[in-house]
Subunit: 584 residues, 2 copies
């Protein structure tokens, strides 16, 4: 039995109605035919997720990974086969450049498919996630020769990719890293040790392409002296065939709270002769190159929050419908616990947060597509501003709320949630990495207030608030949305305007910005998610009237939106009070 | 190196100044000499916690437990020895009746000592916690003969106790249990299976006294047909010596997210001839008897929230002072991460929640003492009302906030928090049981709104609000507390009054009560904790002026209270909005 069925109806609805996939394709300059086949794509991906990738999730959590003395890692049972089918299905190449074997599908569609992998099996899904990042960094920064040699196999998924940033003394402070790169002929020799390398070594692909940050001799101190290198596990000959193994190996695997089936490696480069690496982009510009992959990876981590929340909700809903315990108000006999109001409340919270997080994340992902379109400069700038602003919000808010949803799913299971049997415990453990990797949520908050809000003098945030205000003014209270609910949203926008002014007026006061950054991120996340929920309600109504969605879907969306506006949106009040009370 | 040092100064301050230990002793009719020796007691307990009980915490998490085919459980290395020293030190008998070997120390003092055990090692601390519950149930309900035979060894800690409620189909709905008890001679024969029995079997004591809920033949259905039985692991002869083993055994141990060193057993009673049990209290009144132990156990679980929060804070503070990463605002060089404002924010949140939770929990524990005093009926009734009201708040709020503190402690560690090495991961995993056992927090919420607030027509809640209002009116804004901060507290009381009216006016609408119960619990928890923090500030000021506390302590308390009022108290706004928005 699979614990996950892809929520294809909501995904399709968000893509087509809320995000407006057709318009996204047009602005992005991509083929709009995707819109017509979207259900087919989602169904096919959903089948792979449900039937192959989910069933190996829990067994792999128990089995874990093996590493031998040569540093070879053996993945859990079924991982390799499921990955093979993923490659054969062409799932890795959806959003990439057709020139290198990609399918030219919008990123936002690829994101909706990726949501499924992470719902089904987060440990497994991290392998394609990292490969995607490597493809982006190479596509945007590497020489044509490197692209020709590495991209096709990475895009197909025959090879996988990694990101090597962290060292023992260089985590959040990546500028402190010590790995060295010495120029030699047409390449560099890399020497150093990296930690926390996700899928750094494994047996699912015949080659692994490591992107490694390192310092050249005499490079400036800090982040301005870091360069990015492509360091393949197996060297690649000119004709594209595999050559000799490179001088690198996995030393050990970390023992983690969760994602037990995902190898988190300590990697050693250049123990013998030096690992051969190829420069990506310019010398000392490695951080900029890495950020082209980091930004989308941050969105994808936010998406993992949606994934884990969706999965947690589905499994908990089934449990609450089956588990009989106690007589609920209005009943005379013992029945399933879903009858109890407090359980209903927890499920409604889980569901509405998940749906809001999905709409918000897909909206941000669509900006990736549009920001790469062939549009007038001003429109491109606007898409880039919006993308920049939404990225830390999606990463931060969707991973924080994923913790809440995972914890609620456990709580609904009572004592059974705390023991490992049901699999809910694994969800709770797996989810906890999300606020940490790809930049902790503290870093996201600082990125939000220190760069995204203040960097352009408030242009992006003001534009966003204006758009939300205009939206709020064109809806009227009706049977679906009471005046009080609409007013609550409008008031939140006024508060947001005030909070933004506080940030902008104190843009030089880094201490103040740091103190309020996290509250600002959560406030913005809550309010933009509410905006997306209200938009979803409007679009669901129209879609129902046009017979595009079922009455059940419309009814369920209406409830979900109402719960969000009544029970989740009010949280901004606490964040706003704290922001206002913090002394500058 | 121990990761925990008992916060003796804050404990002593809360006991003597905030709770008013001397007055508590007087009202409780207990020897006030405890007040004079309180520091000595806390120091001695702190030494045992730090030097013996904490160092075996992490190794035991890794080692776990063993069970053999006879159902014998072997505890982790050092557990038995530490327990032996605990018994020798007389730590188990502090608060119990001197007639049975207890020391007649106030419960609130015993609670402060217990806080240390759970900070040091939650798995280990659960054994004495359960024994305490068994002692209470026997003391208040059992026959004198049973008391004479069982209490002295339970009170000394030579024997341990358990609570056996849950069965596969009877968790929260305890009335659904199926374990049978058939009368025979002077005893009963018990047959059935119980799950989730904490410390149900182990090798630390020579006997284990199980308190088991079971049904007599022809007992009424549901909770009104349940009786409580004392079922010893080894039968006890009339002279108090140990006799034959009883017919019971542990079948298996649960594989849990955390508290790996605490045996959570599936227990089987009466597989062969029937387990011999002795009735405690009257037939079919088992639930009432069990509740005499459940209530104090609920307070103690809230206390575990304080414990785990304190421990998480201490370990994280050390880490943040040592871990060098990045240049903080106002600095020119890389330094410890405690310099970063967002890290400061997390630490301040952890600290202020921990201190508030301690003051609130000790205040509730002191009500246990006073409610047992030799006082006029009206005063006793008042103490009982307050105790009843605070019990679900302490259990619920202090265990919910403990999750937040544990999660923040992990977050401050970044990637190092997610791997098992630092021990922070264990804190996060251990803590997650707290909102579940001893009645889930959903059950606490229903107890709060369905019984405690509405049961007496609002008497208790109105009394509490009145007391908080009177308190708020007698303080004036000064350099320690701004007018805005004081007003925030006063406004929260007005909102609380309104929310309480909503609950009282809809006391028959169980569906509505269920929907808002959890928000009500969190709102009340937040506001009563703020009250205790403001009280702490007032008392700290007086204590500093009277040279009872250091200037560092006073300064630190001032900061902690300010942070609570600015950053934690505002959360009530979200809960209140949700309560108001939920339709009746």
């Amino acid at each position: 039995m699979s614990h996950y069925t892809a929520p294809v109806e909501d995904m399709g609805f968000v893509l087509k109605e809320v995000v407006g996939l057709e318009k996204v394709c047009e602005e992005a300059g991509l083929d709009t035919s995707t819109v017509d086949i979207i259900e087919t794509v989602l169904d096919a991906a959903g089948k792979l997720a449900k039937e192959e990738i989910e069933p190996i999730n829990k067994p792999a959590d128990l089995e874990g990974l093996k590493i031998n003395s040569s540093g070879e890692v053996t993945t859990a049972k079924g991982f390799k086969e499921a990955y093979q089918h993923y490659v054969e299905g062409g799932w890795g190449s959806l959003q990439f450049d057709t020139a290198y074997g990609g399918q030219g599908v919008p990123f936002v569609v690829a994101a909706s498919v990726q949501e499924m992998w992470h719902s089904a099996n987060m440990s497994w899904g991290l392998c394609p996630l990292l490969t995607q990042g490597a493809v982006e960094a190479i596509t945007h920064n590497a020489s044509e020769e490197l692209k020709q040699r590495y991209l096709p196999k990475l895009i197909s998924g025959e090879w996988s990719g990694t990101m090597n940033l962290t060292e023992g003394d260089a985590g959040t402070d990546v500028g402190a890293l010590k790995t060295r790169a010495i120029p030699e002929k047409d390449h560099y020799l890399i020497r150093g040790q990296k930690i926390y390398i996700t899928w750094g070594e494994h047996d699912m692909t015949e080659n692994i392409v490591h992107l490694v940050l390192a310092r050249l001799p005499d490079a400036p101190a800090g982040v301005k002296g870091i360069s990015l290198f492509l360091v393949p596990k197996i060297l690649v000959n000119e004709d594209g065939s595999l050559g000799e193994p490179n001088d690198l190996k996995a030393l050990s695997l970390e023992d983690k709270i969760g994602i037990h089936a995902c190898p988190t490696c300590v990697m050693s480069y250049g123990d013998k002769t030096g690992a051969i690496g190829y420069l990506i982009g310019e010398e000392n510009k490695g951080i900029q190159c890495m950020f082209t992959m980091m930004n989308n990876a941050r969105l994808t981590v936010g998406l993992q929050g949606v994934s884990i929340a969706e999965r947690a909700y589905q499994q908990t809903l089934s449990f609450c419908k089956e588990r009989v315990q106690g007589v609920a108000p209005g009943y005379t006999d013992a029945g399933p616990i879903i009858r109890h109001p407090d359980v209903k409340r927890m499920l409604a919270t889980m569901r509405s947060i998940t749906e809001a997080a999905r709409a918000l994340t897909y909206t941000a992902c669509a900006e990736v597509d549009m920001a790469a379109g062939d549009l007038p400069t001003e429109m491109l700038a606007r898409h880039n501003r919006r993308l920049g602003l939404l990225t830390p919000i999606v990463k931060g808010w969707c991973t924080e709320t994923a913790q809440e949803v995972a914890s609620l799913s456990l709580q609904c299971h009572g004592g059974m949630g705390y023991i490992e049997e049901t699999g809910i415990a694994q969800i709770f453990r797996d989810a906890r990495i999300l606020p940490i990797y790809e930049g902790t949520n503290g870093i996201q908050s600082m990125d939000l207030v220190g760069r995204k809000i203040t960097g352009d003098g408030g242009l992006g945030i003001k534009e966003l608030i204006l758009e939300m205000k205009a939206f709020s003014n064109q809806i009227s209270p009706d049977t679906l949305l009471s005046k009080a609910q609409l007013d609550r949203f409008k008031e939140s926008l006024i508060a947001l305007e005030e909070a933004s002014s506080l940030v902008l007026n104190n843009s030089e006061n880094k201490h103040y910005l740091g103190m309020i950054a996290f509250d600002m991120l959560m406030m913005l996340g809550t309010i933009t998610a509410a905006w997306q929920m209200l938009k979803s309600l409007e679009k669901a109504k129209a879609a129902f009237e046009n017979k595009k969605v079922s009455s059940e879907f419309f009814e369920s969306k209406t409830k979900s939106v109402g719960h969000f506006i009544d029970s989740i949106l009010p949280r901004y009040l606490a964040h706003f009070t704290t922001i206002s009370a913090t002394s500058c």
